[in-house]
Amino acid sequence: MNASPTARACTVRIASPLRSYTGGAAKVAADGATLAEVLADLDRRFPGIRFRMIDEQDAIRPHIRLYVETREVKSLSEAVGARETVHVICALSGG
């Protein structure tokens, strides 16, 4: 972890295509009660990372999947509990 967790912190597992933003870290801390807040905090800590996952209309990009624990999340308003883990998955196929 390269960011200090707080009481509201969750853990975000970062897929390898996004680790250039986290200094190579596969697991980082972020604050927020919803996925939108977690991603906003993540972007504050690692500028630019959010737009690579979420487009300007707040849609999750086609080859990105987000999970809170084992729940796949389609809406950024999804609640994220303290100490829960957000998984960022990059799904790519073909050459």
Partner: protein, 369 residues
């Protein structure tokens, strides 16, 4: 540092630098291995600066900037993105940054970007923060002008800034046509008269054409050339009607292709790379025999330049950003193929040689000095 050919590929950025006799080209890179690189463009106002349009298969589109001639790169703080859609509006999201153009010489930090879906963006700070050009992106006709795209998506490309007037802009949309603004991008009008659009029900449609590549001569800015889906054209402003100069091409070759490039000094000289546009549009070299064609009289006649290129059984495809010239008195001409080869044509394309092979699919070849 001397000359560089920047090669943007589906899997990263490469650079080619010649030795003093231009016999050998040293390959550097890849940088950004695995990233999709659509365009790498040097800033003629500040030659240490380069911009690169990039994305990956997973991740959203962005722009990288180098201030040290491509040794290191930093991502834009705010890449091109459409404004937030209002309730009930069609929500547009940039899928690719496809094209980059430096702004006018008098606007030292201005850049333009063209995207898929068709959007126009401007940066006033050298490519760090990008804003939508509302005059185009929110134009009431935009959805009709850019109603459909290519199999790889709709593209806004060939952004041209008149060297005499920063407010005079041209853009091209595949598919949609050529458009012109006289007021810095606030208002736009189609500029497609005379261009064929064989695929449209109305042969005289004002828009809906498919310009593949549009170029403006830097020293004679009233001279425009266009390689269109339906032919090669020339326009001498202030005229508004394009003349089909591709009719002077040999009938067996036709006048279909992606790129067109102009001589850096002579407005009468341009090069095209014809491709097979028959039946299902193979978009490969005609009959498996690659050739560049050059005009030196503004399109009245064309000469085949194929010495050194494969004589047969070579089905090359060359995309619209993948051909350029250098700035020598008798310019070298360069093109990159989707099969990962870069060819150099010395003395205006009189003699070709392969300078690198086995690269990933090439999207762009640009010259920097």
């Amino acid at each position: 540092m001397g000359e560089t050919l920047w090669v943007g590929t589906r899997k990263g950025a490469f650079a080619l630098r010649p030795d003093a006799r231009r016999r050998q080209w040293r390959l550097a890179g890849p940088q950004f291995l695995g990233h999709i690189i659509h365009h790498i463009v040097q800033d003629p106002r500040e030659p240490n600066v380069l911009l690169m349009a990039a994305k990956t298969g997973h991740l959203g589109p962005t722009v990288y900037r180098s201030t040290d001639r491509g040794r290191s790169w930093r991502e834009a703080a705010q890449p091109p993105q459409f404004r937030r859609a209002a309730e009930g509006e069609t929500a547009l999201a940039v899928q690719r940054v496809f094209w980059l153009t430096p702004g006018h010489a008098s606007e030292s930090a201005t850049w333009y970007a063209g995207t898929s879906p068709a959007g126009l963006f401007r940066s006033a700070d050298g490519g760090e923060r990008w804003e939508p050009v509302a005059g185009f992106n929110d134009h009431p006709m935009r959805a009709k002008w850019a109603a459909f795209g290519t199999p790889d998506g709709p593209f806004l490309h060939s952004i041209l800034v008149d060297p005499r007037d920063p407010r005079h802009l041209y853009i091209a949309i595949s598919v949609g046509g050529v458009f012109e603004s006289l007021d810095g991008g606030q208002e736009w009008a189609p500029l497609n008269e005379g261009c064929a659009a064989d695929f449209l029900p109305d042969p005289n449609a004002a828009f809906g054409h498919d310009p593949h590549c549009l170029v403006q001569h830097p020293l004679a800015p009233d001279r425009l050339y266009q390689q269109n889906h339906c032919g090669i054209y020339r326009l001498d402003r202030p005229a508004r009607r394009w003349a089909r100069i591709g009719t002077a091409m040999p009938k067996k070759i036709g006048d279909i292709g992606f790129p067109i490039v102009v001589h850096p000094e002579d407005a009468e000289t341009a090069w095209v790379l014809p491709m097979d546009g028959q039946t299902v549009w193979p978009r490969t070299s005609i009959a498996g025999r690659p050739a560049v064609y050059r005009t030196q009289d503004g399109g009245r006649s064309w000469r085949r330049l194929d010495r050194g290129l494969p004589e047969r059984r070579a089905w090359l495809t060359v995309l619209r950003q993948a051909m350029c010239t250098d700035r020598r008195e008798r310019p070298g001409v360069y093109f990159g193929t989707t099969g990962g080869e870069v060819w150099a044509g010395a003395s205006g394309g009189e003699r070709w040689h392969l300078i690198v092979q086995h690269l990933p699919e090439i999207y762009s070849v640009t010259y920097a000095v």
